[in-house]
C-alpha cells in the first residue's frame, strides 16, 4: 500500500537559516512525489514535484526538494528561511502504477514556524 510519512509535526527555524521539512514514502512502483503548502484559512498550493530525472527538484518561492531513492525520502529544503514561509507543508505521493486518476496520498502535514 502507498503511504507517506512526515515525521515532524512542527519545525522551528530562525529567519535566514536553512530549513528542511522531512518526508519519507512507501510505494510499490516508481514514486511520483509532490510538496504542497497551506497558508492559514487557505487551500493547498503546489510547490514542486518529482516525476523523473534530476534528483534535485526546484520549485516555487525558492524551495527545492531532494529525491533519494535508497532512503525513500523527498525532503523539502530552502537555503534561507523567511518569516512568510511559516505555513503547513504537505508531502504527497502517487504510485506510477496506480492508474486511478490523479489519486494522491498525503502526509499528515508539518507546521513550519520561522521566527524573526
Amino acid at each position: 500500500a502507498q503511504s507517506v510519512a512526515q515525521p515532524e509535526d512542527q519545525v522551528n527555524v530562525a529567519e535566514g537559516n536553512p530549513l528542511t521539512v522531512k518526508c519519507t514514502y512507501s510505494v510499490s512502483g516508481n514514486p511520483y512525489l509532490f510538496w504542497y503548502v497551506q497558508y492559514p484559512n487557505r487551500g493547498l498550493q503546489f510547490l514542486l514535484k518529482y516525476i523523473t530525472g534530476d534528483n534535485l527538484v526546484k520549485g516555487s518561492y525558492g524551495f527545492e526538494a531532494e529525491f533519494n531513492k535508497s532512503q525513500t525520502s523527498f525532503h523539502l529544503k530552502k537555503p534561507s528561511a523567511l518569516v512568510s514561509d511559516s505555513a503547513l507543508y504537505f508531502c504527497a505521493v502517487r504510485d506510477a502504477f496506480y492508474n486511478q486518476g490523479g489519486k494522491l496520498i498525503f502526509g499528515q502535514g508539518t507546521e513550519l514556524s520561522v521566527k524573526p
Binding site: 509535526d9 503546489f46 486511478q100 486518476g101 494522491l104 498525503f106 502535514g109
Partner: protein, 118 residues
Amino acid sequence: NAGVTQTPKFRVLKTGQSMTLLCAQDMNHEYMYWYRQDPGMGLRLIHYSVGEGTTAKGEVPDGYNVSRLKKQNFLLGLESAAPSQTSVYFCASSEETSGGARGLDTQYFGPGTRLTVL
C-alpha cells in the same frame, strides 16, 4: 480566471440534515477531487472524477455521494450528516496527462468549506 471555487465557505448542520457542497473550476480540467482535512491526518480523498459523467470512490467515501453532470462542476452531498463529518472540505482539479502515466499534473485546490455537524 477564478481557478477553483467552493460554496459555501462555512456551514453548520444538525445531525441528520443534508447538504450539498459545490465545486466549480474554470480551467477546463478533466479530473476533479473532493478531500477532507482533519487535524493530524492530512488530506484524505473522499471521491474523485476523471471526466464528465464519471465518479469513483476514494479513501473515505462512506456517508458521501458525488455527481459530475457538467465538466466544470463537482458536487459533494451529505445525505444524513453526522458529527464525524465535521471537517474542512477541499475540492481540487487537474488536467489529464497524456501518455502512459495519467493524472500526474498539479492539482489546484479551492479555498475550502468548513463544515460543523452538531
